[in-house]
């Protein structure tokens, strides 16, 4: 079981790295989907099958697809030369140093910490009960949030034609 965890983890990390360093947008998104699938496997192993399914359906299936739609709508495949110009190896130095420093701090912080996984499998039924009894109000609120998101996205996505008053039109 541990081996599966390690393999899935390594696949996730590698594909995420490939995703962020890719020059082509579509390729990057596809790599990211691979990474999400690998994380979903990790969820399965941890004993959260419902979440694993949710990850694939919503995250990989809806959000990433949304990304792909927008990229295709914007038609930015032609901008690969720009990406080459922007993504020089020199750019990676300072962010890498910052990331390494953060990593070192985190490892140092984790040293004073140890626990074991419990290993229970949590079924969807338990999640459902918990959702609709203890966490009812957050559910309703997240529904309103999604409504706001829809309205906002619709409004912002509109492309208005500029209307000039007929008195201001230069003849």
């Amino acid at each position: 079981m541990n081996v599966i965890f390690y393999i899935a983890a390594i696949v996730a990390i590698l594909s995420t790295i490939m995703a962020i360093s890719n020059k082509n947008a579509i390729h990057a998104l596809l790599y990211l989907i691979v990474s999400l699938l690998a994380i979903s496997i990790v969820f399965f192993i941890l004993g959260a099958p419902f979440i694993a399914a949710l990850e694939v359906i919503i995250y990989a299936g809806a959000i990433m697809v949304l990304f792909i739609f927008v990229i295709m709508m914007l038609n930015i495949g032609l901008e690969e030369e720009l990406e080459k110009k922007w993504l020089t190896p020199k750019m990676w130095i300072i962010p890498s140093i910052l990331a390494v420093i953060l990593l070192i701090i985190f490892i140092y912080a984790l040293k004073s910490f140890s626990a074991q996984a419990s290993g229970h499998v949590i079924s969807p039924k338990q999640v459902g009960i918990s959702l609709f009894t203890t966490y009812l109000i957050p559910v309703e609120i997240s529904a309103i949030l999604l409504l706001a998101g829809i309205t906002g996205a619709y409004h912002l996505g509109k492309q208005k034609k500029k209307v000039i008053h007929r008195f201001l039109i230069k003849k």
Binding site: I94, P95, L98, I101, L102, I105, F106, Y108, A109
Partner: protein, 625 residues
């Protein structure tokens, strides 16, 4: 009577206030009436006070009028009070009367200048300060007048302020007299500490009670007061400012630098003569300084080209005579010479003013000539003034006053034959340079044509002063002539009798010698400058001439010793290290402003970077502490 004394200085002061506050809205005519009228009324009041003083000699020999208490702190009690005795009477008569004539002259002289109102307001302030100086009851009020005349001198020398050379001359005058003023105020401090009062009358009574003759404190205070007098009266070593002060308009030179302000030193010494009598060293120093100054400036006057500079050096020289007289104890002779000198010197300066004005601001006498026929009134009055200056015998007032000084220089118990020799040489020099001036300016062929005929406002004062230069001397004739002692009788109650120590019967010989010397001087000038002798030419180009011309090198000396080091010192701190501290604060603030504002790039990635750095720092602190 006592109250009206206060009006004599108050009227010009009031007129100054009116002219300086409201002068902008007054017409030239109104300004002239106010400016000259206030002096006229003061002169009138002076004459009334004089008549009342002379006809009914008041008790104690003076009038006193206290206006109000100025200050009373910690033992120093000073009032605004005026004290009119014979000495002040002579001085205020000269100041108001000659001042009035000069003001009338100025109406025409300064008529076209845009600073017309300013001129009259400054002149009135000057007359008021000078009157306060001589009428003051105590030394502090006198010092107020002293400073006031110094200020007005500065303002009026630099009257045409647009030319920076005039400003430089004004500053030079102010700074040099300041050196003297500082010595004087230290003297006043010491007097107060020692005697507890600054009232002149009380001081003169207490000083001989406190110190014996020759006591060091008396010598010190007398020397300090002498320093003050030297500065204002332009004697050695503080004499370099007066020739440069000729940058001011001619009426200013006439009033301030001939008749009145430069004689303030004489007044001071005469007023505090009791103190000087207690310090024989200082008194001898006064005589020696007077003698040296009159010789040095006499030689310098011989070589000058500028008409007004000749007259300036001549003033220094004549005041040297007054100092000589004070130094040998001939008090009333000094005051008599002051009065006569005021008349003829003011006349000469006013006449010079007319000549310069009429010749398009030409100052060089070598470029003038032949004005005798073109301006007869000016010529004759100028001639009378010069004759009085050169002390031509018997007819001019100058003869009587100068002869008295020379006689006392030899015969007084503090005089000596060397002082007399210096005086007689000075008289010869005076004669030569005066008539050199006359021959070069008025005789010979005309090199410059006058473009303007002077009007009555300019000519009448000249005539009045010319008459006074002749007639003024007849009130004091020497013992073997007519023995008229009108003048010295006035001072009986103030000054002690001059003690003669030798040769009472030899007075006639000395008078003959003075007469011969002055006439001889005229003849020498006639030979050199009228007949155009080649000696004069060779003298002009000699090195000695250059030395005399530059005032015996005093200016250069002072420049090297005082001015250059002071300028060098101030150049060191040019960037002003205190200022740089505040500049540094501003600089740092700006620096950090630029630094922090350059962090607002507007780029998203930059802000994310800032976040991460912040997160790192916070986490580090959280996990390690």
């Amino acid at each position: 009577m006592t109250v009206t004394i206060a009006f004599i200085p108050a009227l010009p002061l009031f007129s100054f206030l009116v002219l300086s506050l409201f002068g902008k809205w007054l017409s030239h005519k109104a300004v002239a009436y106010i400016g000259v009228g206030s002096i006229a009324i003061s002169a009138l009041l002076t004459i009334i006070a004089g008549i009342s003083f002379l006809s009914a000699s008041p008790a104690q020999g003076f009038f006193h009028s206290t206006l109000w208490q100025w200050m009373n702190t910690d033992g120093l009690s000073v009032d605004i009070a005026f004290h009119l005795d014979a000495l002040s009477l002579v001085f205020i008569f000269v100041i108001t009367f000659v001042g009035f004539l000069i003001h009338v002259y100025s109406i025409e002289f300064i008529a076209d200048d845009e600073g017309f109102t300013r001129f009259f307001s400054y002149m009135n302030l000057f007359v008021s300060s000078m009157l306060i100086l001589v009428l003051a009851d105590n030394l502090l009020l006198m010092y107020l007048g002293w400073e006031g005349v110094g200020l007005c001198s500065y303002l009026l020398i630099g009257f045409w302020y647009k030319d920076p050379a005039n400003g430089y001359a004004a500053r030079k005058a102010f700074i040099i007299t300041r050196v003297g003023d500082t010595a004087m105020i230290i003297g006043l401090f010491l007097l107060f500490i020692q005697l507890g009062t600054l009232n002149t009358h009380e001081l003169m009574q207490q000083v001989p009670l406190k110190w014996a003759e020759g006591s060091p404190m008396a010598v010190l205070i007398a020397a300090l007061l002498l320093g003050g007098a030297l500065g204002k009266s332009a004697q050695l070593p503080l004499q370099t400012w007066l020739p440069d002060a000729m940058a001011g308009p001619s009426p200013v030179s006439a009033l301030i630098h001939a008749a009145t302000m430069v004689t303030a030193g004489v007044y001071l010494i005469a007023r505090t003569h009791v103190l000087f009598a207690l310090a024989p060293v200082v008194q001898t120093a006064i005589a020696v300084i007077g003698a040296l100054t009159l010789l040095i400036s006499g030689f310098s006057a011989l070589t000058q080209h500028d008409l007004k500079r000749i007259l300036a050096y001549s003033t220094i020289s004549q005041i040297g005579y007054m100092f000589l007289a004070l130094g040998v104890g001939a008090w009333s002779a000094a005051v008599f010479h002051f009065m006569i000198h005021a008349f003829f010197k003011a006349l000469l300066f006013l006449g010079a003013g007319v000549v310069i004005f009429v010749l398009h601001e030409e100052h060089d006498i070598f470029k003038m000539g032949g004005l005798r026929k073109k301006m007869p009134v000016v010529f004759y009055t100028f001639l009378i003034g010069s004759a009085s200056l050169a002390a031509l015998p018997l007819v001019t007032a100058g003869f009587y006053s100068k002869d008295q000084i020379l006689w006392f220089a030899w015969s007084s118990n503090r005089g000596s034959v060397w002082l007399w020799l210096a005086g007689i040489t000075g008289a010869l020099l005076t004669s030569v340079y005066t008539f050199r001036m006359i021959f070069l300016t008025f005789y010979g062929e005309a090199k410059n044509e006058p473009h303007y005929k002077p009007g009555p406002l300019m000519l009448v004062p000249l005539v009045v002063l010319a008459v006074l230069s002749i007639v003024g001397g007849f009130i004091q004739l020497p013992e073997n002539f007519g023995h008229i002692q009108l003048f010295s009788k006035l001072f009986e109650s103030i000054f002690p009798e001059t003690i003669l120590s030798r040769g009472k019967s030899m007075e006639l010989i000395f008078q003959l010698l003075s007469a011969v010397v002055s006439l001889g001087g005229v003849y020498i000038a006639y030979l050199l400058y009228y007949k155009k002798s080649p000696l004069a030419e060779s003298f002009e180009h000699s090195a000695v001439h250059d030395f005399f011309y530059r005032g015996w090198g005093f200016d250069t000396l002072y420049d090297k010793v005082f001015v250059q080091p002071a300028v060098w010192l101030s150049e060191i701190n040019k960037k002003d290290f205190i200022d740089s501290f505040y500049n540094g604060i501003a600089y740092f603030v700006l620096f950090y402003n630029r630094l922090f504002s350059s962090m607002q790039t507007g780029k998203i990635r930059w802000y994310v970077m800032a976040f991460s750095v912040g997160i790192i720092i916070i986490l580090t602190i959280m996990f390690t502490l």
